[in-house]
Amino acid sequence: MEKVKCECGHVNPYGTYLCESCGKPLKEEKGKIANMRYEGVARRSQTYKKSMIDRVWNFFSSVKVGIWIIFALLITSSLGTVFPQEMYIPPGENPAIYYEQAYGTIGLLYYQLGFHNLYSSWWYMLLIASLGISLVIASLDRVVPLYRALSTQRVTRHEGFLKRQRVFGEAEGLDDPEAEMKKAEKVLREKKYKIRKENGNLLAEKGRFARWGPYVNHVGLIIFLIGGMLRFFPEMYTDEHVWVREGEQEVISGTGGNYFVRNNEFAIDLYDEENEMFEAALERAGGSVVESFRTSATLLKRSSNGTVGSETELEEVKDHEIIVNDPLTFEGFSLYQVDYKLNELSTFSFTLESETVDEDFSDFIFEVDLNDPQKLYEFENGYEIEILEYFPNFLIDDNREPTTINRIPDNPRIIFEVFPPDVDREDENAEGEISLIGIQVNESLNGDHDHTIRLAGVEMVDVTGLTIRKDRTLPVISVGAIIFMIGLIQGSYWHHRRIWIQNREGTLLLAGHANKNWHALKKDFSLISANTQIPSPVDQLDEAAKEKENEGVNQNNV
């Protein structure tokens, strides 16, 4: 493709609309006003339309396509809020049933279309990916030629360029045009314009760096999206949950077994109902409002001098009161207060009674740790009690067999076998008294017994639920967000403005271009005309609109 040489001598790339240097229109365009978008530069997407690559490039470089992608994201995103996403339905519910049950046929359809997991669906991801591609291509397509055009622009512009600016005016018959230009220059300098002069012509420019704002914010967005994508790589993102009972410690997963967290105490504080300020609100809420959930936690680290296989030695690293909005953090990990369980059973204490055996059982008491029960309990008076089976969370399953749902002692049942002193536990033929014991359950499993085990006491602990989070994508995402904000502010709060004043044999030509905020540009022109004899130029768009309206009025009158 051959380059285009303008009469001013500048060689423009093929496809240029307005000469990069003097602004002379190189292509015929409709309308009174030049299309100043991207300075009329040759953009790759507007120039080459042959190969496959050209087509892909042209597709994604189009702002129109970008806007369609934005609208598609907007509409699909909002669809995802019609009913709750799967992660927000009540825990334990089967989504296949839940949506239909709760929301009827539309709910079922919502589920079948996969909208219950909309934001992780392949087509939503595809939309976000297209947005990313569009950001890259659309920016590259514009920023490179725009940069070239703005750096090669000349002070002296072609008359055709000036006349076709939106704000344009001529000042004829001035007594001393050069003196007036000097005055105008002074005004513009005071308004902090950068002034360049050439052959008695003047270009005043201000806020050019605002032009790079959109590209800077697009770069930020791309970094942000890349950061979001990094999550899908291993090791980048930890999302674990751990329950820690009061007084106990649990390993923090993801730390390679090196760190543990101990729950010293968990507490819930309620707002004082006597509180004068909140009295009315507390009453309306119908009772207690939680003021805080607190876990007094200690972070422990496996001590480094312990040899392999030896007893784990833990040293305390730090204490922290974990509350909502204040996680415990270390080495990129954060432990958040997210859940709790009050009064979980922890210990049962039992006594042994007998109506038939003559023996004093008044001191006979033993405790079973429900999270770690002993197998065998031996007593001074020769009695032995063995735990045959332990079901922390008892359930009769579909095969009518006793089993446990999990290891959490929410509904513990224990099968004990009691061996009085005269029965030898080691003897295979010997049979003790077997019974199943739980809360308000005490059944014999092998006939009549001489002894009865009684549940005499229970101890409970509170359990705190913590989320373990490590997110290595955060630095990338933060950098992206910061760059995005900088670009957004750069492009929104500064405006690129240019004013051309040219002296053509005593007649001053004035033209102005603002990328945004024409109002401020016009105010600067008014300031010039207030301080000089140069009249304010007109807004050719306003003129056109007025003409159109007058025509309309006239037609109506007829």
């Binding site: 806007i67 809020t81 709060y493 905020n517």
Partner: protein
């Protein structure tokens, strides 16, 4: 202290009213010629001064309540909606001096009043903060967001003025229907406020026993006469029998209020139409015939260009920082988050469309209006109807 804050809000409200009147005078009142021969009328300046004093009173309300309650008053529907009203007036006070457009005043001030009045329909007493809200980020995130939305609202006002100015109300077109719908919604909002205040003054209350969506027996209090009753509702005290009962899944009390507001709005609307025998937009149009459409178009574009970064910073970036601290992840697709993203995407699309030819002027005015509808949707509908992590914000 607490009472003082309410009184300051009353003062602010009446000053906004005064400002509305003064701006109205500036447009319709007599003009006199200055020595330079320019036609002028000082009422606009006084209207602006009144708006500034009103803003000072409103900000004082905000600060006094903050001190009294112990946290920034942006934690529930009353506080947030009031803050939105104040933010719109703040945005107006900032943008007015740039353009000195009195039409902006006469439209913005009543909207500020309407939003503040709407806010006071929610429980106004001080509420304690639940643990998730106890953070400095509440202050930072919400105040930045509300200021952003306030500035974007000026874009809406500009767009509305533009539409009323340019649309031909003599023909029945979709555009006329659109503007009438917006104006009807505003009237229905006024009707809601008046009905609510009226029935409140009359101490109206009706109580039902009904079966709720979980199939349990429950009680519900109505503050407006029940046109719609709750599912299998039995009136136990006060009031009239409902015309019909709603299914259990619908919050019948809220639906009842919506129907009342709709009917109330309809009555007002029809009265106005019968009196003037033209669309409401057509009634207002002569008032704005002096408006330069290009000027209001630029004001609304400018407002959105200023408000968009503020909203993005507050509603997305600060929101993400806080979500990371309080909810363990910076983004979780909670409905409120999604609708903040939708708002962001919408205005981003608007700003890109402004680059295209043919999207300045009327089309972009429609977008400005739609954008503010999305903001209000996120405030009202998402908080009150779509349950989510943010639904504490009742």
């Amino acid at each position: 202290m607490f009472e003082m804050s309410s009184n300051l809000m009353y003062v602010a409200f009446f000053l906004f009213l005064a400002s509305t009147v003064l701006f109205a005078v500036s447009i319709t009142g007599k003009k006199f010629k200055t020595r330079e021969g320019e036609e002028k009328n000082k009422a606009g300046l006084w209207g602006y001064i009144s708006a500034v004093i009103a803003l000072i009173a409103a900000v004082s309300y905000f600060i006094v309540r903050w001190i009294a309650v112990g946290h920034a008053p942006v934690s529930n529907m009353f506080e947030y909606t009031t803050a939105l009203g104040i933010a719109i007036s703040l945005a107006f006070v900032i943008i007015y001096p740039m353009y000195k457009n009195n039409y902006l005043g006469i439209f913005t001030m009543p909207i500020v009043m309407l939003i503040i009045a709407y806010a006071s329909m929610f429980p106004t007493e001080a509420q304690p903060l639940i643990p998730a809200l106890q953070s400095h980020w509440l202050t930072i995130h919400v105040i930045t967001t509300v200021i952003g939305q306030g500035i974007l609202a000026i874009g809406f006002v500009g767009g509305l003025i533009y539409l009323i100015r340019v649309i031909d109300f003599t023909k029945a077109t979709k555009k006329v229907l659109g503007v009438e719908f917006i104006l009807f919604s505003i009237i229905a909002g006024i009707a809601y406020i008046l009905l609510n205040v009226g029935f409140n003054l009359a101490d109206y209350e009706a109580t039902f026993e009904y079966t709720n969506e979980l199939g349990e027996e429950a009680q519900i209090d109505y503050t407006m006469p029940p046109l719609v009753g709750p599912n299998e509702g039995e009136l136990i005290s006060g009031g009239m029998n409902p015309l019909f009962n709603a299914p259990a899944i619908i919050a019948s009390g809220d639906l009842n209020v919506v129907i009342w507001s709709f009917l109330g709005g309809l009555v007002f609307y029809l009265i106005l139409r019968l009196l003037f025998r033209k669309p409401i937009g057509g009634i207002i149009q002569p008032l704005v015939k002096q408006v330069n459409p290009q000027a209001v178009d630029e004001i609304s574009y400018r407002a959105i260009a200023i408000g968009f970064p503020v909203f993005t910073l507050g509603g997305l970036i600060f929101a993400m920082i806080w979500a990371q601290i309080a909810w363990t992840r910076f983004w979780g697709w909670d409905p409120k988050e999604v609708w903040a993203l939708v708002t962001f995407l919408f205005y981003a699309a608007y700003l890109h469309l402004r680059l295209s030819r043919g999207w300045q002027g009327e089309k972009s005015a429609w977008l400005c209006v739609l954008g503010f509808i999305i903001i209000l949707f996120n405030l009202i509908f998402v908080n009150l109807v779509i349950a989510g992590l943010h639904s504490y914000a009742m």
